[in-house]
């Protein structure tokens, strides 16, 4: 069965330090993978997506993610956190055409001054 696991429900980093949000997927097929961000009282906004082209994907706001098939991972990183990055982040995966997209349970990112 298709699943997406976000390993941390909360992550806290200091402003200016690197961010790592972890995501693992399970699939028998090559997936499409996404990271979305949700700010309070807002809908989700796409940060980046992987669709079997380059394994290192660059997104908006300085975020990037690397697809590692051997580890079934798609971790989200940013070299230097900013206060405005404080939000909830969702990893998502789709496996087949006409199938639904599966979201992880989310990771809340806290930025410490």
């Amino acid at each position: 069965a298709q699943s997406v696991t976000q390993l941390d429900s909360h992550v806290s980093v200091s402003e200016g330090t690197p961010v790592l949000l972890r995501c693992n997927y399970s699939s028998s097929y090559s997936p499409s993978l996404f990271w979305y961000v949700q700010h309070p009282n807002k809908g989700l906004q796409l940060l980046l997506k992987y669709t079997s082209a380059a394994t290192l994907v660059k997104g908006i706001n300085g975020f990037e993610a690397e697809f590692k098939k051997s580890e079934t991972s798609f971790h989200l990183t940013k070299p230097s956190a900013h206060m405005s990055d404080a939000a909830e982040y969702f990893c998502a995966s789709s496996m087949n055409r006409d199938d639904k997209i599966i979201f992880g349970k989310g990771t809340r990112l806290h930025i410490l001054p």
């Binding site: 499409s32 807002k42 989700l44 997506k49 997209i101």
Partner: protein, 114 residues
């Protein structure tokens, strides 16, 4: 350009009442999705439309939930005889159609059942 619009933004109603939530997708987006987001939970898939048809209704929690889409555009999610456990944020998203396309989300309807 206009994004996905959901109305109302907030809805408070008494247990047992029916509610109707509306979603206006981005013009030209053939796929439309409904999700439920409860406090501390991820997104729970409810239903998706491709045009006016719903190939996958498997996520609807009970027969009190129904959804329709007309003209390949606006969609309504109806919850009959609401229960307190229906309290959540209901999010709508639209996309160009292929499941591999990114989804564009509205800001949601926050539903509170008293």
């Amino acid at each position: 350009g206009a994004g996905v619009s959901q109305s109302p933004s907030n809805k408070v109603t008494e247990k047992g009442k029916d509610v109707e939530l509306r979603c206006d997708p981005i013009s030209g987006h053939t796929a439309l999705y409904w999700y439920r987001q409860s406090l501390g939970q991820g997104l729970e898939f409810l239903i998706y439309f491709q045009g006016n048809s719903a190939p996958d209704k498997s996520g609807l929690p009970s027969d009190r939930f129904s959804a329709e889409r007309t003209g390949g555009s606006v969609s309504t999610l109806t919850i009959q005889r609401t229960q307190q456990e229906d309290s959540a944020v209901y999010l709508c998203a639209s996309s160009l159609g292929d499941i591999n396309q990114p989804q564009h989300f509205g800001d949601g309807t926050r539903l509170s059942i008293l």
